[in-house]
Amino acid sequence: MALTDPTGLDFEFLGKDRDKFVEDANNRDKAQFKIKLSDKGIVEIVDKNKVDVSKLSKTEKALFDAITDTKNRAFLVGVEAQPGIDFGGFVSPYLQSKQPGVNWIDSSDMSLLRDADKTAAGEVISHEMMEAYESAKTGSLDYNTVHKAASKLFPEPTFTETNSLPNEKGKSTMTGYTAVWTWTRPEKDISVRVTYTFVTPIPRASITSQPQGNMTKIEVVKKK
């Protein structure tokens, strides 16, 4: 799959639910400007001339600069549920893309997250945008490098409370599990419990690698 840059503009959203990803980005925490998609799927800043760049936070300025950087093109591509992707993935082994600047968004995961908490969905899409941009800008295909750069602006949530499913006590196989993702914020953290369903049930005694699975339920966790 080849993604070319026909316009010289900077971010392009493609594939399933691309319009919803725009809404997600606009719901990011402490957003200081909004974005919209052109008919061709190019990201544009709403009322760009009214945005006072000098008053943007460090994070917002980085996102603004990425969107208005005409030298580098990054892509977000919405795809159907992928058992290897948790929310977003970088340089997909599924589509055998080795082009820098392309992140793949699991639209099914995002739909569940959006329904649970819109701000969390905004943080995820913003993270994926900056990951793709970092790759486009530097040409890097190293996930760890671009993920770290994106995390400085839109931090990776913590991942805790990895638990088995209550109705599978005493069984020799597991069909899934749950985990809690938490976006840490100064005022109030956002925590969601994600239920995963494995593609194939796995023996409880031999979880030697990361089992492929889809997110099938996301609910907000109210923490004290």
Binding site: D86, E156, Q210
Partner: protein, 162 residues
Amino acid sequence: MTKFFTILLIIFALVISSSSQQNSETTIANFVAFDKFSGLSNPREPKQMFIIEVQKSSFFQAGKLIKVVYYPKTDGFRGGAKFLESDTLNYKNIWKMKLRQPSEEEKLYCEFENYLKTSDGEVDTDEKSEPTLKFHSTQIDADLKFNNLERIPCMILDSFLK
């Protein structure tokens, strides 16, 4: 005033020097047990949890057990993490480990538990109705339970060499 700044600079240099010495400290140790369920960690930032036994260290007594968190390389996809495998983890292997203190954020990952729990907070059980232990021995094919797990010190394993 100049003298004050000179003293300040010396203190600063000493702190930097002491900090870098601590960062470069090597602990000689071997793996005692690994968390069987590390594969269920976040594929975007996977983690693997171990218990190690110190053989030689400037900070810990020989024989001391330490909880260790390790970040395997990954491509961010499920199945993409390069978890340490049994041939590496075998108790017979002695490693020179670069360990460091966890950051404030990382302390969250130092909360090890002996048992797998269900999402409603109960202890999970296997098909023999036995509680599901999380840690597996690197010496024998058996699961292990550690007493006072919460009191065992926790470090981050940055790298290791033979």
